[in-house]
């Protein structure tokens, strides 16, 4: 019975992303960068006050923490990145023209993760996460939509 209800609820929510496009935007929340670990890409996990009425604090922290882990993976200094760097140096960096770098691969993973999070968690709550790369890796922009246009049709 629970499965049936969940499927019904989920099938209604799968159209949420399209509904959001026609909804009115109430405001935007910006999650800033956390520079306490240096210049690596990391976002603050502090829960913004504007989202308190909309979503679970733990869920938000989990999303941001996963994003931080993914960015750490992209910028990790290890055997693989050194190998890539040395190979690039030997080929006078022309290899960057033909090969996709490790960082770019992780960025694609991040884009996919954000889309997944939007579809499963944020759109049903009337929120939309914007991929930080579209804001120059400065902020995670969360758009808050008006409540009434979600699921009312």
């Amino acid at each position: 019975m629970e499965d049936v209800l969940f499927n019904l609820w989920f099938s209604r929510q799968t159209h949420s992303l399209q509904d959001l496009r026609q909804a009115a935007v109430t405001s935007k929340v910006f999650v800033q960068r956390d520079y306490t670990s240096g210049t690596i890409c990391k976002f603050q996990t502090k829960f913004p006050a504007e989202l308190e009425s909309r979503m679970d604090k733990q869920q938000f922290e989990e999303t941001i923490q996963t994003l931080n882990n993914l960015y750490a993976e992209a910028e990790k200094l290890g055997g693989r990145s050194y190998l890539e760097g040395c190979l690039a140096c030997l080929t006078a960096y022309t290899i960057f023209l033909c090969m996709e770098t490790h960082y770019e691969k992780v960025l694609k993973k991040i884009a996919k993760y954000i889309q997944e999070q939007n579809e499963k968690i944020y759109a049903p709550l009337g929120l939309l996460l914007t991929d930080p790369i579209e804001r120059g890796l400065r902020v995670v922009e969360i758009t808050i939509f008006e409540d009434r246009s979600i699921g009312s049709r």
């Binding site: 496009r21 140096c89 006078a92 120059g136």
Partner: protein, 372 residues
Amino acid sequence: MLDGRRAPRRMKNREYQQIDPQALATPPPRPPPEHMPKRARRKWEVFPGKNRFCCDGRIIVARQSGVLPLTLALIVLTSGLFFIFDCPFLVEHLTGCIPAIGGVLFVFVIISLLQTSFTDPGILPRATPEEAADIEKQIDNPTGLSSSYRPPPRTKEVVINQQVVKLKYCFTCKIFRPPRTSHCSLCDNCVERFDHHCPWVGNCVGKRNYRFFYTFIVSLSFLTAFIFGCATTHLALRSQGGNGLVVALQASPASALELVVCFFSVWSIVGLSGFHTYLVAANLTTNEDIKGSWSGKSGNEDVGNPYSYNSIIKNCCSVLCGPMPPSLIDRRGFVPSDDSVQTRPVEIELPAAKNDINMEKDCLDFALSCAG
């Protein structure tokens, strides 16, 4: 009139059906895309900084290319003279490796120079109007939101590796600059890990192209020294057979020219390479070194570079062989059309005008409406 009385409900229904959110979002004067194909603009076309773009946004250069043509001309001319006049003689009298080594060095120099000049150094895109308004909200401005004079510089402090670092607010880009980022006035952009603006290369040297710049100056040092050595050897060998130096110079005047160019450049280039090798080993930028940010010149004894890994090898590896970060300005992406979701008072689409005053006014108005 009767129709008019009944009509409102019908008309209302019809109007309600006719109102298309897409049409509401797009501004009235612009016709719908199906009727007039409007070319979607790429982001480089509306880029607010003072850069120029070529090949549909694939190549980026600073507005003033500085002396890049001179740099290229000097290198190509000197190397050309070397290959034409010195190589045949040296291949005959010494070894065939000489043009091969010269060739490899020359290729390295030219490729790394072009990459330094044409790569995005790590430009930070400017804040969107909503972001700027959000930041304005967070900063306490007790003197009121008058835009008649520039407010005092805003700073934010953050502790990195037990070191207090001040983040400054950039009035042009409307962001708090990340650590090690600086605003280049020549290019009018904030650049990450800003090293310096190099006129010889015609571009800023920053996070993304520092490794190319380093490769360029190191390989140029080797090339200059190599050509200098070969030209000297050439002249020495020619004047050996009892002919004297004057005869040798007459036989190969190009070598004399190469000697002069190389002699004057080798000191500065080798010196620069040495300096940058020190910077790489200490994980410093030219900007930080000149300002003395971490050397305790201001009298504070506790400063140390918080970004250094305290190991020369690790510093070198992280600066030169670290992962290549992506370009943040997405030059070839398309400017989003107005159908995307937008807040009511402010339009999201990037304004093509470089009118900072208007943008600041919009931000202030928006901030007022949020606060009020």
